[in-house]
Symmetry: C2
DNA sequence: TTTGACTTCTAAAACGTTTTAGAATATAGT
DNA sequence: ACTATATTCTAAAACGTTTTAGAAGTCAAA
């Protein structure tokens, strides 16, 4: 049976509030009583009941992360895993719980509302933002604290941490053009995600900047998996005029693309250049190693969490918007076109 | 401001308990009142306050997963990610929270105790079991519900879900010996983990079964990362009498080993055979594709969660111990030795 | 018309904490 | 010696829910 304030109060012969205030170190308790109470509490192994405390304080001391049901397998994505580890590290350190759950798309917003109304969390972390994101609109409407990892297409007056994907992919295009490539292909995740859309913009901007023209068939939109990357790359490589460089918009896609190229008997880095995005651990180890954009996934997770915790604790309305530029890491999957 | 039972009670002109019992559907409330109360509650958007409910019920309706601090980056391991997704899916479906936190090794047991005494969770999921696991011993001593993913070395009278790693690796050895290999090397994670230890046993048992002798230098113990796999493989390949087959005890290690072999100018699957364990998505996409043992990571996560939820809800003491055999998937990283 | 049995509801207590308002005692100032 | 002021404590209320015990009312049977 758990030890309660009442147990301690009985033992020390004081009232429950006295014990409560003694443990909290209030100065209307004499040092003598305070020390005695604290000693007894420690000896009895007292740990406050969380729910009683939260009921009274009307604070959940918890952060919610509701995973879109359709994204259940996202956990196998190393980038997401690292992001999550950063979030957990930071929330843990702040003594807050991280409540992770999953919701099917059709009930997603209801789940958010239930968390809010049931006062289960003090704030949310939103991942995989859409260009028009119903979750963000909902939370903003209810003035409920949240930080998103990623922006919307516009109307971004809320706290977020994001990459500069547009800028990043432009660096990649610069790199490829510098090497001499003029026919570039692109493999993207669904464009309803801001992240994907923005990276594609970077691709198009890059082409325009260098006076290269874009043909529809050079952009293949698919999902985030390696398998899809392979299939998409095959489509690009089998075009009448195949690109000499393929800009895959994440590393898993890029690795799939490398596989596809090798299936077609091409030497990656010589016959065809392939790039990724995120710099997951694997990128360095793939064969050939992958030219990609490095992102500090773990740190981004801590930033998101930190941002939200600040917002919750300070009740401050000041906006914190962080955009991190990825850094180009040139490895062996890119080279001068033959 | 959140809607409470009192708000509803005022509105319908009944007492708070009546409203509470009407919403819960007790039959000492007239159908008329029940329907009316439920309608009003819905209209007002009532959602029960979680903490009040939990305080009263003395149940947390939550499952704890305390990640060893040293394992923070585990999230980047795709296998762990999938396991986690299974756990989340199942706990979510059961209406329970999953409370994930991190604890440094020196304070780990204290964190467990605080969760227990503070009644924050109804049970724990233990991951990465040690051969002697202090966490398991602690929980068992306090008769607190838990399910572990993995066993201890012995004394396993508790609920767990585990792989049959020993058996699995024996299959791998059989496969390699069938191909004609007689000099086998092995790359393992630290042996204090039961998982690693057990897989190594499988390796040794396999050798013995086939009358092959084992030399110490053919076993390299390192950590779980690709980088380590590469370094370990280099050590094996640079031996005076290098093995013709390397049994890496997880896929990341195996992929590192493949890289090492390629650095030494060896063609994997011909000059040297390499195997993994887990069959992460990447295994199929690596070059060459990896012969490995498949494990249903996501399903294992659901099993662990299901097991714990049963235990919590039924208060039953019946033991549930599940051991799953991995299945050998032969791909292109293994072949007849030259 | 009284008893007994149902049906439907409510008052009170409980879960364990914190906050507020104020009581009791001690200390100092005149 | 009496008032004013600190100091140290406690009683009561509050957070929102559920459970327990029992009250009030209705109805049928005797």
């Amino acid at each position: 049976m758990a030890v309660t304030l009442k147990n301690i109060a009985d033992k020390v012969g004081k009232s429950v509030p006295t014990v409560s205030r003694a443990l909290a170190g209030f100065d209307d308790i004499s040092p003598k009583t305070r020390d005695y109470v604290q000693a007894v509490a420690k000896e009895m192994g007292y740990v406050p009941n969380n729910f009683a405390r939260k009921l009274q304080s009307q604070k959940a001391d918890a952060v919610g992360l509701i995973l879109p049901g359709s994204e259940n397998l996202r956990f196998s994505d190393p980038f997401f895993g690292l992001l999550l580890s950063g979030i957990i590290e930071r929330t843990s350190a702040a003594g807050m719980d991280l409540s992770i759950s999953a919701a099917n798309d059709d009930e997603e917003l209801d789940v958010y509302m239930e968390h809010i109304k049931g006062q289960r969390v003090d704030g949310f972390i939103i991942v995989r933002t859409h260009r028009k994101d119903k979750r963000i609109e909902l939370l903003r409407k209810h003035k409920f604290p949240f930080v998103s990892f990623g922006r919307m297409e516009d109307d971004n007056n809320f706290n977020f941490v994001d990459e500069d994907g547009n800028w990043g992919i432009e660096q990649v295009v610069d790199h490829l053009v510098d090497l001499g490539h003029t026919k570039l292909g692109c493999i993207a995740e669904p464009l309803l995600y801001t992240k994907s859309f923005s990276r594609v913009q970077g691709f198009l901007n890059g082409l325009k900047k260098h006076g290269l023209k874009f043909a529809d068939e050079n952009l293949v939109v698919t999902n985030y998996r390696q398998r899809s990357g392979r299939e998409a790359a095959l489509r690009l490589l089998d075009l009448p005029q195949p690109p000499t460089a393929i800009v895959a918009l994440n590393d898993l896609l890029a690795i799939g693309a490398i596989q596809a190229a090798q299936e077609r008997g091409l030497k990656v880095g010589r016959d065809v250049s392939i790039t990724g995005f995120d710099d997951i651990v694997l990128a360095e180890m793939s064969n050939p190693s992958l030219t990609t954009l490095h992102q500090p996934a773990h740190e981004m997770g801590t930033l998101v969490a930190e941002n939200l915790i600040q917002q919750i604790k300070n009740q401050s309305i000041e906006q914190s918007q962080i955009v991190l530029k990825p850094t180009l890491v040139v490895r062996n999957s890119t080279g001068t076109p033959v």
